[in-house]
Amino acid sequence: MTLKNTWWKILGAILLVYVSIMGLAGEVPRQPILNETIRNVYFHVPMWFSMMTLMTISVWRSIQYLRTGDIIRDQQAIAFASTAFYLGILGFITGAIWGKFTWGSALPADPKLIAVEVGLLIYAAYFILRGSFEDEQKKARLSAVYNIFAFAAFMPLVWILPRVTDSLHPGNGGNPAFGKYDMDNQMRMVFYPAVIGWVLVGIWVASLKARIIKLEYNKLNQ
């Protein structure tokens, strides 16, 4: 590990420590119903941002695999998709806890929730699909194609569909996300670092997973 390729890991770590302190100690606007739970914006929302970034990298790696046939690209695609899935589950659980105390229900019939449930199931099928092949090349090729379809289904499901109808989530049902009434500048000073920090640490964990998959693969094929 040289400083040249670890600086972003250090940056991500520093940002998350900053967020863990300022997310609790910083001033937040007084909002009825939300009260102090508005701080969950720093901890719940970045899960989704990090997940989306990792999914985008994953699909990009799958495209690269299909173009080059380089098995390392396939290993990175699965590592990033599975880390993204894990962050999605964390986002889902944290959202359920938050919703329980503000919306009055952990799992309301909200379009965004349903879209994410469907989307995560599409990704779950990706992992099952990979597990059902014996041949390494066939597994990599078919799952790369499926990954592109999963990504193409997931993004409109989560971003567009809840905006077409009405959702409990802010920024859906026609309103711009996190408008001036939800977050002030002081909150943005914590929220943006939180998003960048979780994206960086997410990439870090996923790349670590990809390296371990590669090591395992090399050991099996010695």
Binding site: M1, T6, A13, A25, V28, Q31, V201, W204, L208, L215
Partner: protein, 58 residues
Amino acid sequence: MSLDLILSILLQSDVVMADGLRQDGKFWVVIAVVAVVTLGILLYLFLLDKRVSKLEKQ
């Protein structure tokens, strides 16, 4: 001042927040603990990274 602004100020003064907590409730102790745990997990991630790098060199 617009009516909207006056209304929102009036309404927001009633919102319950954990005001006293940060002043005299030793809340900083909790923040310190959370910071240490976060730092600890990230440090562990660094050590794992180093170990994987070592394996890759073999």
